[in-house]
Symmetry: D2
Subunit: 182 residues, 4 copies
Amino acid sequence: MANILIIYDSQTGNTEEMAKYVYEGVSRYPVNVRIKHVDDARAEDVLWCDGLAVGSPTNIGLASWKIKRFFDVELLDYWGDIEGKIGCAFSSSGGWGGGNEIACMSILTMLINYGFLVFGVTDYVGKRFTLHYGAVTAGKPETEEEREVCIRLGERLAQWTLALIDGKKEYLEVLKKQKEEK
Amino acid sequence: MANILIIYDSQTGNTEEMAKYVYEGVSRYPVNVRIKHVDDARAEDVLWCDGLAVGSPTNIGLASWKIKRFFDVELLDYWGDIEGKIGCAFSSSGGWGGGNEIACMSILTMLINYGFLVFGVTDYVGKRFTLHYGAVTAGKPETEEEREVCIRLGERLAQWTLALIDGKKEYLEVLKKQKEEK
Amino acid sequence: MANILIIYDSQTGNTEEMAKYVYEGVSRYPVNVRIKHVDDARAEDVLWCDGLAVGSPTNIGLASWKIKRFFDVELLDYWGDIEGKIGCAFSSSGGWGGGNEIACMSILTMLINYGFLVFGVTDYVGKRFTLHYGAVTAGKPETEEEREVCIRLGERLAQWTLALIDGKKEYLEVLKKQKEEK
Amino acid sequence: MANILIIYDSQTGNTEEMAKYVYEGVSRYPVNVRIKHVDDARAEDVLWCDGLAVGSPTNIGLASWKIKRFFDVELLDYWGDIEGKIGCAFSSSGGWGGGNEIACMSILTMLINYGFLVFGVTDYVGKRFTLHYGAVTAGKPETEEEREVCIRLGERLAQWTLALIDGKKEYLEVLKKQKEEK
């Protein structure tokens, strides 16, 4: 079974809320899933996983310092040795135009640095809502579309991990069908 | 008098609509202002200006190829000779999460490359709407907040250009007062 | 057999030289490989491939306008329909500090936008030479290290494509052994 | 007199070495200058300054978690109230292609978020060495060119701060003359 990990930081609870919806999306698939606040996440969690979603509040345009410290310090001993996992990002900012996409890119940058293969999602999950570089919300995910971008991210992470790492190519068809329904 | 230039590309008319609101914001200040579609913009327009706002549809996550060509080809002879102007960005994407912030960053990157000093705006212009890396909209600027982010970008560009390039420090007070009203 | 495509733009011949070394790296593996100047590349080439390396001179900090136009125009009809390919980047700038890493990130951004899974390489190929976000050179790839970063990029692209898309997990061992030799 | 601040983090001493050369460049101009390791820097230092250079080792592709924490926590109370300062970046990575430019961009992103006007430098300071998005080195700044990119960054920061914030337009001529000598 493929192993999926969600690591998130949260100050106001908004990103934690997003993380729960990402978890919901992942859980629709036959995978093992762990969800950890960054304070509780350990290097071994990353070693365990095949696919990883990292979420952070948008803090000064980038992932929070705690998320940064996790990659700078906690995971450092394994740098260069954990290539080939699948990674993606999510972030909640104070408002639209507040940097949530750029914060997602900062997370993807860290994952690329660790040798992950990273992705965004082209799907629109409603009028004017998509997740091209990861799931983003302005504040708490309150609308159906904002919840759905998080769920979709989790689903896609499970699909790619199953199809590419676990070799279950039938999930490419599941993915394709989901996209056609949009 | 300070000279302000707005260059934009537009396919559906959405970014053109943004450009008009940026123009409206600039026009509230005692400056000369030009607005040009990228097809009509010339290197001399950039030489003329003290402050520049560049707008583009979010195309595949970055500024459009026409905006890119303008900086790659049309302006190239002046690379390295036009330092010290003030620059900013705006972009309209198909949806939230569709890359408009990242497209703004691609524009700021090009402006930094040409020696501009670039800025974003910390102001919130309404609940959940700001313009930290430039003005962004999802589709046409239809809500009051989406129009206001464009206007605010134009105002701030005029304020910085007047205060820093033209030496009219009183506009720092105008800026400060505007921020306190938020 | 897995299909690998290299698309590049080149003005001075420097990026073309890089492309040849990327090709050399890819060719060490049992894959089909095509190499195309962006002027000659067509949407069908991308449809054909399982793995793609895109190279560009660093122009004003980003990929060239011709590379941008390829993704904006030539490939646009297939946006949203070609998910799940593997992608990477390479770029040559006028000097160190001239933007080649940022140009690579602009290419990765476009590939992410099209639904690719993108990667960088953690390997050092010599003292002070690596390719964390894609292969980069300052000018023509003249030193052994600069040639080697290009070759390594091609090798890694072939390895990931074989292992993840083609399901030949034995190439994960090849990759691992190569990293241990560094 | 204009006030210039240099804040840096350093683990191996490489970025500290860069910071000293940035300091040397700033010191050639009639400004007050402070240099602080991030552990010792306080919000009041930033309030005091008119121009700021931030340096960091390239850690996992971005500024270090300590630099991030400084902007996330130490300076947070002043967010939105310190607009209009001049900012720039420098970073040392383990090798070329190791992310030093991207780390500079992460610093510029944080400065833009705080309302700074940020810049890079178009000058080449030697064959194949420039600092378009801030000063970068691979490891310790050992060659003359790597020292010179740091010095040039400090000089340019002093020049822009004197000319734009302090209103001493004669430094635009100093800058122009320096560029012509290149």
